[in-house]
Amino acid sequence: MSGELPMYPSEKPEHPYVLDSYAGRILNTYSSRFCAGCGYGIIGQIYTRVFEDLKLDPNLHPLVIGIGCYSQILLLVHADAQKVLALHGRAPAVATGMKMANPNMKPIVFSGDGDCLGIGGNHFIHLCRRNLDCVIFIFNNSIYGMTGGQGAPTTLFGAKSSTTPYTMFENRSDGIKLALAAGATHVARTTVAHPRTFMKYFKKALKHKGTSVIEIVTPCVTYFGRKNVDSLGAEYLGLEGKKMDTGGKMVDWIKRNSVRINQAKFMTEEELFNKYIIGEFRYESDKPEYSEEYARIQKIAMGDK
């Protein structure tokens, strides 16, 4: 990211959430640095929108961002938000430190599929296990975008990437199942094709006391779509797919390839293979939260003083 930002000399757009963004307000660029068809623009805008709608206190909602393509979202999120770019995979640990050192805070963690389920898998598990009060987003584009399209733990079976040129043969990692098993108390998955649901989950997560894990399925046209066909996830139909080389095609595919949680109950394993199950998987508001529990321990340690 060294060097100068590409300056698009476009005229000032009227869109309020663009004007509020870091790029818009501080850098005056009114544009993202994402590829055409990328879903991260939607996510950045939704964050800014929720930030404005709920009038979030930037002092209490630090944004901890991992490393991946999505790190650039920091240009699109609200200019007031306090942002820190953590190391690859370590964002949950940084958020833990923040929350525990200042329990009034509710950190919001941005992490990708490689970040959260690959290199930082351990931190993610233990964040969920502790039920630490924070929101963690997993942006799942089933590819390593920043480094140029390598296979991720979430890459679908049979998909091509630059490190799986003969198609992916490993089992897929499911962030939601992992979060459920680890003990996160608010777990949901949605896609960028369902922005309103995403906003709903985000707002709910901000009110929730405990770990909220929200996975967002998002398209990567440049490295995933162009190499793969839209029959992924519908292998049981035996159709020949078409290349997904535009954002529209990928969003269409994501829509088609996601199954609502209630619907999924009636589907066979074969039908669900390579599909994304979306919806709210768990919401438990009465589970003990880590920083509150620690405050209780502190009281015990302090005795009656």
Binding site: P62, L74, A93, T96
Partner: protein, 392 residues
């Protein structure tokens, strides 16, 4: 333990403490609020002691899932304004260097206790070995300077931990305390100073008054005075923050800098130009010494014993002690070795990491005798032998 009272400051006076506990108590006195650690022999007593003590004083002690998480949680805590620390040993340090390098970049202050053990690899877990210094001074990718302090007894483990926190606040770089397996488990008396005395010394973490807040929250070169300005560490959750904490080459405002050269220069030179304030040293019977022993940490004590015996034999020998091991005090050492007949460097490692530095500043022709030792620390006779040899 008898030496706890549930308060931040222990009762002034003499306390019998284990080295690791003394270090932990020093940290609490310095205002430690967050400790993230992972148990590893021989540093375990630090986390054990803090797990008991920190909640008593309203702090947080967390046992994280691994070393990577420990150091990152420490960084997170430091970002939101808590004085934070971690403690580990060699293998743990190897895991943590990634984040140390990042913390150096973002100038996030924290203190790092390294209770060194015998390596390489898993090595021998309960034996002292000063083999981490090489890793400490280049701890991570990229170029930056760190500060490393080497205490030699429990009293100093307490005092220097407070100094380490002050250095971290002032110079905004990773500060290491180099203890070792032997020192960490040594029981000695620590003389705790009165509360006021400690509080006078301690530099607080706080947001500067609003009229002093400038957008320049990272170090930069003041071109008029030609010296480096190191602002107070920014605190997330207050108004005193940069636009973003971006771990790319950044300017004083935190936004990415078009000039990585100047950025790296700042990271290195902000410490180097302040060497005279950072480097603590101690002279021992050096006034008439012909033979000079240069040492740090535990071997210093062994040297003192050897000097005692050698002086009885009429050999004029003295010791120069590095309390700050890194940055290496070139100028002072140069002065000390200038007229020496010979220099002896007893080090608790084989390669002689500091001996190399001494070689760099010693005039050609002055013999430098390394006295290496691994896993057990020197017997006074080891050093005496070297002294007698060069005295002849």
């Amino acid at each position: 333990m008898n030496n706890q009272n549930g308060k931040r400051f222990l009762k002034p006076g003499r306390h019998l403490m284990m080295g690791n506990e003394a270090m932990a108590e020093g940290a609490i006195s310095a205002g430690l609020r967050f400790f993230g650690g992972y148990p590893i022999t021989p540093s375990t007593e630090v986390i054990e002691h803090l797990a008991k003590r920190l909640p008593q004083v309203g702090g947080v002690c967390m046992q994280m899932e691994d070393e990577l998480a420990s150091i990152n949680s420490v960084m997170g805590a430091s970002l939101v304004g808590a004085k934070a620390m971690t403690a580990t040993s060699g293998p743990g340090l190897s895991l943590m260097v990634e984040t140390i390098s990042m913390a150096a970049n973002l100038e996030i202050p924290f203190v790092f206790c390294d209770v060194q053990r015998c390596g390489p690899g898993t090595g021998s877990v309960t034996d002292p070995h000063h083999n981490d210094l090489g890793l400490v001074r280049f701890s991570g990718n990229g170029e930056f300077e760190v500060i490393a302090l080497a205490p030699m007894n429990c009293q100093e483990l307490f005092d220097l931990t407070i100094t380490a926190f002050n250095y971290a606040e002032t110079y905004r770089c990773p500060v290491f305390i180099l203890s070792d397996a032997y020192l960490g488990h040594l029981h000695e008396v620590v003389d705790i100073p009165p509360k006021e005395e400690i509080l006078n010394k301690v530099i607080k973490r706080e947001v500067p008054p609003s009229e002093e807040i400038s957008p320049r929250v990272f170090s930069y070169l003041d071109k008029v005075k030609n010296e480096y300005v190191i602002p107070k560490p920014p605190i997330m959750g207050t108004e005193y923050v940069p636009g973003m904490f971006l771990h790319t080459p950044h300017g004083p405002e935190g936004i990415l800098s078009p000039d990585p050269f100047r950025f790296v220069q700042t990271m290195v030179d902000k410490i180097k130009t302040n060497k005279d304030k950072i480097c603590l040293t101690e002279n021992y019977k050096l006034d008439d010494a012909e033979i000079v022993i240069i040492a740090y940490g535990l071997p210093v004590r062994v040297s003192y014993r050897a000097i005692e015996i050698a002086r009885e034999e009429g050999i004029k020998v003295g010791a120069f002690r590095l309390i700050t091991v890194w940055p290496f005090p070139d100028e002072q050492v140069k002065e000390v070795v200038k007229n020496a007949k010979a220099v002896i460097v007893p080090e608790l490692n084989y390669t002689g990491i500091i001996a190399e530095q001494v070689e760099r500043v010693t005039p050609l022709g002055t013999p430098i005798i390394k006295v290496p030792q691994v896993a057990v620390f020197h017997h006074p006779d080891d050093i005496l032998k070297a002294i007698r040899e060069v005295a002849q």
